[in-house]
């Protein structure tokens, strides 16, 4: 008779796996990826390809050089590469994509111990790094499917006091990072993630609502508040970056606090500072505060005694 397997309980499993979660994130990003190619043309494919391949090769090489177990099979590197790419504009040359992605994968993720150990979101940190190291990463490029008279991003236009067509904002027919503009595609991805129970609604909804409410309170202008949430990287940030498991609090309560903080910081940067966009910075700052939020919002165990 064959040998019986002896292992610790439980002997059944929900079937959830890290690979499946990462795959779900990739599937959820698919509409935004397709939209980016439709709106910005084949140039966006160059950005995406450069980032994704660099992410995979970078992590694979790091694992080989440091003699670690190969981890590229868990798709998390692909997620990082794709997310970073979707946060860049077609104006970014491929070599900058490569350097930015290497920074994200090697310095932010692998050097901290790989998946699960990094304290900051690799894609966000990569983007902020590129913002500082190179010229503007989000602006300057126009959609190829519509003729626009301006090359300014909607946030820059809003900053100058111009008004924008909400439908254009919703469909993403304006300048910006390739994956951030089409809100429709991002919402489809959001719904998919909710259905697959990869994330809960709390973080994205609280994040976006906070920005909306603060703009409404400070300007009293509903159109302005709506334009502000639809423009820039708020949706992609709230749905895909602020919900990153590794770099955000582990409890729902903590995640709500995290999202609130992100919303407030985004608003402060956009409204009070010279810099037009604040989503990346807000998430990065809250990433750093995550251990403290987690401590403050820890659940009281049932029957626990202090």
């Amino acid at each position: 008779m064959a040998k019986l397997t002896v292992s610790a309980a439980p002997h059944i499993h929900s079937g959830a796996s890290t690979n499946r979660i990462m795959l779900d994130v990739l599937i959820a990003l698919l509409p935004a990826t397709v939209a980016s190619v439709v709106i910005f043309g084949l140039k966006s494919l160059i950005v995406i390809t450069a980032c994704v391949i660099t992410a995979l090769v970078g992590e694979a090489l790091f694992n080989i050089v440091t003699k670690r177990k190969q981890t590229i099979g868990d798709f998390s590197a692909v997620v990082t590469g794709l997310l970073l790419a979707l946060n860049l504009s077609t104006n970014v040359p491929a070599w900058q994509c490569v350097i930015g992605t290497l920074f994200a994968i090697i310095c932010v993720k692998c050097l901290f111990g790989g998946l699960g150990c990094n304290f900051a979101n690799p894609a966000i940190t990569g983007r902020v790094f590129m913002l500082v190291a190179f010229s503007a990463v989000a602006g300057g490029a126009n959609p190829t499917i519509v003729d626009l008279t301006t090359s300014a991003t909607p946030l820059e236009q809003l900053g100058k006091g111009e008004t924008l067509e909400l439908m254009d904002l919703f469909l993403g027919l304006h300048g910006g990072a390739i994956g951030e503009t089409c809100i429709l595609a991002l919402i489809i991805g959001f719904v998919y993630l909710l259905v697959r129970k990869v994330i809960t609604w709390h973080t994205p909804v609280v994040f976006i609502a906070t920005v909306f409410v603060l703009y409404l309170a400070f300007t009293g202008d509903v159109m302005m508040a709506l334009s502000q949430i639809l423009a820039g990287g708020l949706f992609i940030g709230a749905i895909f970056m602020a919900t990153d498991y590794v770099t955000t609090p582990i409890t729902t309560r903590g995640r709500i606090v995290f999202a609130l903080g992100c919303g407030v910081i985004t608003f402060i940067i956009r409204y009070f500072c010279a810099y037009p966009e604040g989503v990346s910075f807000s998430i990065l700052i809250m990433n750093i505060l995550t251990p403290f939020i987690e401590k403050w919002t820890a659940k009281e165990p049932l029957g626990g005694v202090k």
Partner: protein, 445 residues
């Protein structure tokens, strides 16, 4: 209105294929193996010798020191060996082997116990050899002994049977409603309880109906219907969902005036009081994908697993894993020669594919373990604490995250996408805390 926090639970597939299967009594096995540690506490001590002829129900091992339980012969025949035998958990236990003569002759000296006070009742419960039959295997008398120090207001009869597959408690309630009811009356009387509550999941309608009918008119008896979710039958969860009370760290449940007794234990206790026949057999659910036909059997305790599955109609394929108990908390056995024991409520035979072991990967902090923990622990943080090399740091972290409150229900391990053995890690964490405390208590003095 009382505000009550909702306890996190899981929806697992019930797989109660055998709920409608009336238990079938198996033909006497050729031999039975009776380990002396079928209960928690100290092992029983054999009082028979190799070569002795024993009959069904005859005392063959007396209780050991302190918390312990007697063992009775479960077949008639000759004691063929008394020797240590290796068990599923790797430990070895003294085991009495009886070669059956196939007659199942009853011990003629058996008679219902006579008593007129609580001490007499407790002594009789001890003599019955009954333990927690839901899997816990804690001697029943030990639990009821709480009456000596505590006022017991409520007895909860645990009939949740929340583990998938298992239906032995269900069948006990449906086929032996009278015994359950008699047991409930005994508990009410001797525990001097204001209320006896039968706690049962809503997927056992037949049992609910039968018990309702049998207990109609008893205002102290209540049937509490719970949603069928896992781990409804875990002590802390059941207590909270039924009474709203919580056992605090370091506290005993009895100090709250509540004890929880498994429903089959209740019935088996009543059977002993009625007939004088101690615990010698029980209902065992035989199920799993590798079994031809899932069934419920009534088998002498100590019957080898291989014999039971054969009696149930055999296997449809080579099993990859064999479990004593349910799929969430059951123990995998190394060999089918092992016997079923007092607390064996089911035997599950899983296919090779179901037995596949996944290599744990890195925690991605997805929070599923936290969201699904019935007692609101942070299993991810506890697992990280266990990785601390420094013992003082490990101890402090485990205490900070209240490892002692873990109810070992395995929900965390079940949902973990990284396949981390979180419950196992918590069990080790508890052992470590105990050891650390003991060492430092000595060192301090």
């Amino acid at each position: 209105m009382q505000f009550r926090k909702n306890i996190s639970t899981l929806k697992v597939h019930h797989n109660k294929h055998t709920a409608g299967c009336k238990p079938i009594r198996v033909a006497p096995p050729k031999e039975v193996l009776l380990p002396m540690n079928m209960h928690s506490g100290s092992p029983a001590e054999p009082i028979v010798a190799v070569g002795d002829y024993v009959r069904v129900g005859q005392l063959i091992a007396k209780p050991g020191e302190g918390m312990s339980c007697p063992v009775h012969a479960t077949v008639s025949g000759t004691v063929s060996a008394i020797e240590p035998m290796k068990q599923a958990d790797g430990r070895s236990a003294l085991t009495i082997k009886i070669e059956s003569d196939g007659k199942m002759e009853q011990d003629p000296n058996l008679k219902p116990p006579v008593f007129d006070d609580v001490d007499g009742f407790l002594a009789a419960v001890k003599d019955s050899g009954v333990v927690g039959l839901g899997g816990a295997a804690f001697p029943l008398w030990g639990k009821l002994d709480a009456i000596r120090k505590n006022q017991i207001d409520t007895v909860l009869v645990n009939a949740a049977e929340c583990e998938p597959y298992i239906t032995s408690d269900t069948r006990m309630m449906v086929d032996h409603t009278d015994l359950v009811v008699k047991g409930v009356h005994l508990l009410h009387k001797w525990m001097n309880a204001k209320k006896v509550v039968i706690c049962i999941e809503d997927n056992k309608q037949e049992a609910i109906d039968k018990l309702r009918e049998a207990l109609a008119g008893e205002d102290w008896a209540e049937i509490f219907i719970l949603p069928a979710i896992y781990p409804q039958g875990a002590k802390q969860v059941l207590l909270y969902n039924v009474t709203g009370q919580v056992v605090k760290g370091g506290q005993r449940m009895a100090s709250l005036g509540v004890i929880i007794i498994n429903v089959s234990s209740t019935a088996k206790m009543a059977q002993y009081m009625e007939t004088g026949m101690p615990l010698v057999d029980r209902i065992v659910t035989i199920d799993g994908s590798a079994v031809k036909e899932p069934k419920n059997l009534i088998a002498p305790i100590g019957t080898p697993i291989s014999y039971l599955v054969e009696q149930a109609g055999g296997l449809s394929c080579e099993p990859g894993k064999v479990l004593i108990g349910g799929p969430m908390l059951g123990a995998a056995v190394a060999s089918m020669d092992e016997p079923s024991k007092k607390a064996t409520n089911s035997l599950l035979f899983l296919t090779e594919k179901e037995a596949k072991i996944y290599e744990p990967t890195a925690c991605i902090r997805c929070g599923r373990c936290v969201a699904n923990c019935p007692v609101s622990l942070n299993p991810a943080a506890l697992a990280r604490a266990m990785e601390s090399e420094n013992e003082d740091v490990r101890f402090a972290k485990l205490q900070e995250f209240s490892v002692g409150q873990c109810i070992e229900c395995a929900c965390c391990s079940y949902v973990c996408p990284a396949h981390k053995p979180l419950m196992e890690s918590n069990k080790q964490g508890k052992r470590f805390v105990k050891k650390y405390k003991a060492e430092h208590a000595e060192g301090g003095k």
